[in-house]
């Protein structure tokens, strides 16, 4: 098992190098020389060249990439064109905010979707099932930022229960943004849970459990759910990147000072080091979460563990 984790961690390195290259390439073909956004309007060509050198913009794309990678491995993501601050430091300041938001989002999504999905599957084709599925379909069809706006209208402006933005109200200021991101994820996971449970519910081993005298409740919650969990965890892991993506929108709607907001602002200001750094770090985060998900598999399903340790 430890060897497997180590192997996966090592495999992460080339992936991250590729990601860095893709992002680096995309950001560096951007039209317009970033030097102009920094230099004063009456700078001479010599001054511009000097500035380029100072900003690390001289040389070909590849040389610049390798220079970037070299620094990145030392934890240096460069300096923001705009704020002149260390990108890594800025990112690390923002990250906890986004992680807080992502955690509550995941919690909300899991808390809503697994019970709903189980109920829908156990009472297949009943009114409860139909209602859950309609709800899930609406959740999937609703753009998250619009849901955020609606939540503000109802719960913030209308009822006054939660603040409409900012981060001063503690947990309260997290609730609406977390729902904004979590609704779509919850919808998707409800559907997955239902489908996965329906697969499991017809299995012979549940009949066997019932024949042993296991109560219906326990048959579903213990015997069925543990088997149905794999696809649910898969969706959960795959969707983590979309939670981070969703946070870009939610952070904008609710003025939440997270990583998403950082990226969008940086793009607006053509602050390439910040954008590149933030995207690379985000990919790393997603990859690590995916690795954790793969490890969780092993604890849920002994057959997968057997494969890993091989």
């Amino acid at each position: 098992m430890h060897r497997y984790i180590l192997k996966r961690l090592l495999m992460l390195i080339p992936v991250l190098l590729c990601v860095a290259f893709v992002i680096f390439a995309i950001m560096n073909v951007a039209d317009g020389d970033p030097v102009y956004s920094v230099a004063s309007a009456d700078a001479t060509p010599e001054e511009l060249d000097a500035l380029r050198k100072e900003m690390g913009l001289d040389g070909s794309l590849l040389t610049r990439y390798f220079r970037y990678i070299g620094k990145m491995l030392k934890g240096d993501l460069g300096t923001s064109y705009v704020s002149k601050r260390d990108v890594m430091k800025t990112y690390m300041e923002r990250l906890p905010n986004t992680l807080k938001l992502a955690s509550l989002t995941m919690l909300i999504a899991v808390g809503m979707s697994i019970p709903l999905g189980i109920i829908a599957a156990v009472h297949q084709n009943s009114l409860k099932d139909t209602a859950s599925m309609v709800l899930a379909l609406l959740g999937l069809s609703m753009p998250n930022f619009w849901l955020g706006l609606l939540l503000i209208i109802v719960f913030s402006l209308g009822l006054g229960w939660f603040p409409s933005g900012g981060y001063t109200a503690g947990l309260k200021s997290l609730v609406l943004p977390a729902f904004t991101i979590g609704a779509g994820l919850a919808a998707l996971m409800t559907r997955t849970t239902r489908a996965s449970m329906l697969d499991v519910i017809r299995q012979d081993y549940l009949l066997m459990a019932r024949a042993k005298g296991v109560s219906e409740r326990k048959v579903i919650r213990k015997h069925a759910l543990k088997n149905a969990l794999i696809p649910i965890i898969t969706v959960f892991g795959v969707q983590f990147s979309n939670v981070l993506g969703g946070s870009v929108l939610a952070e904008t709607v609710f003025s939440w000072p997270g990583v998403g907001r950082l990226v969008v602002d940086a793009i607006d200001q053509r602050d390439i080091p910040t954008v590149t750094g933030a995207l690379v770090m985000t990919t790393m985060l997603v990859s690590i979460v995916n690795l954790v998900v793969d490890i969780i598999y092993a604890y849920v399903d002994p057959r997968i563990k057997a494969q890993y340790t091989k």
């Binding site: 066997m208 459990a209 024949a211 005298g213 057959r303």
Partner: protein, 335 residues
Amino acid sequence: MSETEKHILDVKNLVVRYETEDGIVRAINGIDIQLGYKQTLGLVGETGAGKTTAALSILRLVPSPPGVVECDLLHIDGLDILSLPDHKMEEVRGKEVSMIFQDPMTVLNPVFTVGEQIAESLEIHEHLSHKDALQRAESMLELVGIPGSRANEYPHQFSGGMKQRVVIAIALACSPKLLIADEPTTALDVTIQAQVLELMSQLKDKYDTSMIMITHDLGIVAEVCDKVAVMYAGRIVEQGLLEDVFNHTLHPYTEGLFNSLPNVKNRTAMLKPIRGLMPDPTNLPSGCAFAPRCNYATEACLGEPPALRAVSDTHSVACAAYNTPGFHIEKGRDA
């Protein structure tokens, strides 16, 4: 002692149908089963005859919907099963009656260790602590011939025959009074089949368990059963002691089953398979369900399904041909 208490199992007029979108599947159409203590009943018939459904309805495990179970009487060890509330029924399953399922590959839960799966029924019925139950589970494994140390392993680490041993250990963990074995050896290799059957017989004798052996294999019936009931299209067409049914066969269908067996002594003899197929259970013929395939069928067979009639104290048959005095089937004549 009242009439029912002499039997571990007493079933009267059991009817099961599945109401699906495509019509009503008539799985069981009125069967009676009586089984004495320590006896073994062989329930014989082709795939689709309703054997498994019969077993499941005894445990009240027929999935509903689409299944609908009707029954005049269902007593296990004198206990009226039909009137039990669900939580009482859970106490009966695994404790009074256990079931061994057909396919050991699919009945063990892949994400729990075999020890946990055996221990579970002990925790439920004997109220043992998890630790004690796991210990007992290990000794159950030893009992079925698996080293107790393997209790921590998962089903995928066992072979088919080993899995069936685990299933048997689960079924016998709480020493049930009645064991229903649904084709326990069908999914196994022939060599393993014999071992598993031998094990079941031993354990059955050890614990004084009564048993219903569901099978399509007449060889197994001859080996382990005291009584035989032959099912066809959801009805019992012939039942009696092993000796009655095997040596004084009455029903044309039973005869057909015997004729389909290869004869080792006379290898040049042609196999005589029963012609045709089982009728579609959504659309059973109005008369005797076997009539379309029966060599002895007459007009009289097409009216109503024939009722079981007693031929002797122990032997009965459901066949309209016996209305004609002097009727006998070919096999009967040979015997």
